[in-house]
């Protein structure tokens, strides 16, 4: 029984190998196509790498799901009946079922990665890869790309960096593209709307008592300080005050008198 479980695991592994191989070939073709497009549009090659990564993962999953037991049977008609029978009698344990499992293990040795793989399809893919690689070299060598006047990737890149509607509103005022020239970028303005947490370092206020010096002795002599300190208003500066300030001063003085 464990042998047959091992056999089905092996079969799953074979399917994974084939799916991985085909998905790799597809991913290389996809990468080369996207690379050609990014070269023409003068976009970063990271775009091609990211898209290819996503394509590869989804392709492996899709191929694994697509390669069912029926597909394996279709590719190997000589094991079709025995494979189905083994699947239906997986948990049985008698003389003939054991013999069938042994027979199946023998037959499945011929069902390797090779029999599940379409060599013609793989050859076509390799040829496509060669053509696409050549086109990448040619496009790079001759610096073929769409002129900036026709297609400026930075103008499209700005689309991706546009702030959201929430970000574009500040104190109820909605920013337009033209406003940016006057007020600067709205996201900076938004910063003023946010709470700022300030942490004051308490170490600054610490007093190092070791460094405190003793007060110097000072001898005060009589007559050093004036007996009376008188404040004299600066008339000249008062005259320079704006009219509104003079009104305010007058108003304050009036209030002082009344109180």
């Amino acid at each position: 029984m464990s042998e047959i479980k091992y056999l089905f695991r092996e079969l799953y592994y074979e399917v994974f190998k084939i799916s991985f191989l085909h998905a790799s070939a597809d991913a290389i073709i996809f990468f080369l196509v996207v690379l050609n497009i990014t070269n023409i549009l003068t976009l970063s090659y990271y775009v091609a790498l990211i898209l290819t990564g996503l394509f590869f993962v989804s392709d492996v999953i899709f191929r694994m799901k697509k390669t069912t037991l029926q597909k394996i049977e279709a590719k190997n008609p000589d094991v079709q009946d025995i494979l189905r029978t083994a699947k239906d009698h997986y948990n049985e344990d008698n003389f003939m079922v054991k013999a069938m499992f042994e027979d199946l293990i023998n037959r499945m040795r011929s069902v390797s990665a090779g029999s599940l793989m379409n060599n013609k399809e793989l050859l076509v893919k390799v040829l496509i890869m060669c053509v696409l690689s050549f086109s990448v070299i040619v496009l790079s060598a001759y610096d073929v790309h769409i002129p900036k006047g026709v297609f400026d990737p930075n103008s499209y890149a700005k689309w991706f960096s546009r702030p959201s509607a929430e970000q574009r509103e500040f104190y109820g005022i909605e920013f337009n593209d033209s406003d940016e020239d006057i007020y600067g970028k709205p996201e900076f303005a938004v910063l003023g709307n946010k709470d700022i947490e300030l942490a004051i370092n308490p170490d600054i206020n610490k007093i190092d008592f070791d460094k405190v010096k003793k007060p110097e002795d000072k001898v005060f002599e009589r007559g050093t300080f004036p007996d009376e300190v008188v404040a004299i208003s600066d008339v000249a500066s008062e005259e320079k005050l704006p009219k509104e300030s003079k009104i305010a001063i007058a108003y304050n003085l009036k209030l002082k008198e009344e109180s």
Partner: protein, 319 residues
């Protein structure tokens, strides 16, 4: 990994190949017929052989019985054959003291392989007695019931010609035979070999014994263990069901007994050919002898001159 079980299945196949080689010393050609009889025996079922006279049916069955080390008996059916002639009867036996008592004298049915020659010549009453023994594997005489020795098979024969004074088996009774095997005329080459074999200097042709009773019973057990996929089972049931629904060609279709028989026969066919599982080819090969006596053709099919085998062939194309 050791392949003990698979090796044993291959040994079974080799044994049956040797069996056929041995039987071919006596019977020339008729490989298909021999295969079908062996399958019937492995399924622990009965078979009806239909052929013209002189094709070696009796010799074939007798040789099979000898090869299998089984007790063989022959019943020549005639209109005056009574049930007691088959089952046996009580006779009065006198003991030493002069005391008399009834003692059961077993009939020819008490054997492992019973050849009921020209069964359609026996009266329905005698046919019924035989068919009861076939079904129940026991006979009742008076108030006593006697179990038959296992394995037990009835291989009956009938001629398709010279129907005058015969009692053709009704459909319900032919259904009890798992197989209806048609024995055809041999090919010219085979016939030449038969002529050479049986017209030369007289010499006894002895066949070796191959199978003991116990090993045959074991093989019957293995036969039932042969795995079959659900997919093929569904196809078998669908085929048999189609014999009931295709009213255009078939008046009366096969019963579920045909489905059981077809799956069993396919298993046995796979086993004697050394396969560890049932394939659709086993089903297709066995469909003819299993279904041909279980279907009654419609008027339209008969008018078109179709035979049951042709109708089965049409049904098989759809599975």
């Amino acid at each position: 990994m050791t392949q003990v079980h698979l090796q044993q299945v291959q040994n079974i196949k080799n044994m049956f190949n040797n069996f056929k080689t041995e039987i071919s010393k006596v019977i020339v050609g008729q490989d298909k017929v021999i295969d079908q009889i062996v399958v019937a025996i492995l399924c622990d079922a009965n078979a009806l052989l239909e052929s013209y006279p002189g094709l070696g049916k009796t010799l074939m069955i007798k040789t099979l019985a000898e090869l299998m080390d089984l007790k063989f008996s022959r019943i020549q059916s005639t209109p005056d054959l009574m049930p007691s002639d088959i089952t046996g009867t009580y006779i009065i036996e006198e003991k030493r003291g002069g005391e008399k008592e009834f003692k059961f004298q077993p009939g020819p049915i008490f054997a492992n392989i019973v050849l009921a020659d020209e069964i359609n010549r026996a009266t329905p009453k005698t046919q019924a007695a035989l068919l009861e023994a076939m079904q129940e594997k026991q006979v009742t005489v008076g108030n006593s019931t006697f179990k038959l020795d296992l394995p037990f098979f009835v291989l009956a024969t009938q001629n398709p010609i010279d129907q005058e004074g015969t009692y053709p088996l009704p459909e319900a009774q032919t259904d009890r035979f798992l197989f209806k095997i048609k024995v055809d005329y041999p090919s010219e080459k085979d016939e030449l070999e038969i002529v050479d074999k049986y017209t030369g200097p007289a010499k006894s042709i002895k066949a070796r014994k191959f199978l003991s009773k116990d090993s045959l019973i074991n093989l019957q057990g293995y036969c039932r263990q042969v795995p079959i996929s659900d997919d093929i089972k569904k196809k078998v049931v669908s085929l048999v069901n189609r014999t009931r629904t295709n009213k255009e060609l078939i008046e009366y279709g096969a019963s579920p007994r045909a489905s059981i028989g077809l799956i069993l026969a396919a298993k046995a066919h796979a086993l004697i050919h050394g396969r560890t599982f049932v394939s659709i080819e086993d089903v297709k090969t066995m469909a003819y002898p299993i279904l041909r006596h279980r279907i009654v053709l419609s008027f339209k099919a008969e008018r078109e001159g179709k035979t049951p085998d042709e109708v089965i062939e049409e049904l098989l194309k759809k599975i």
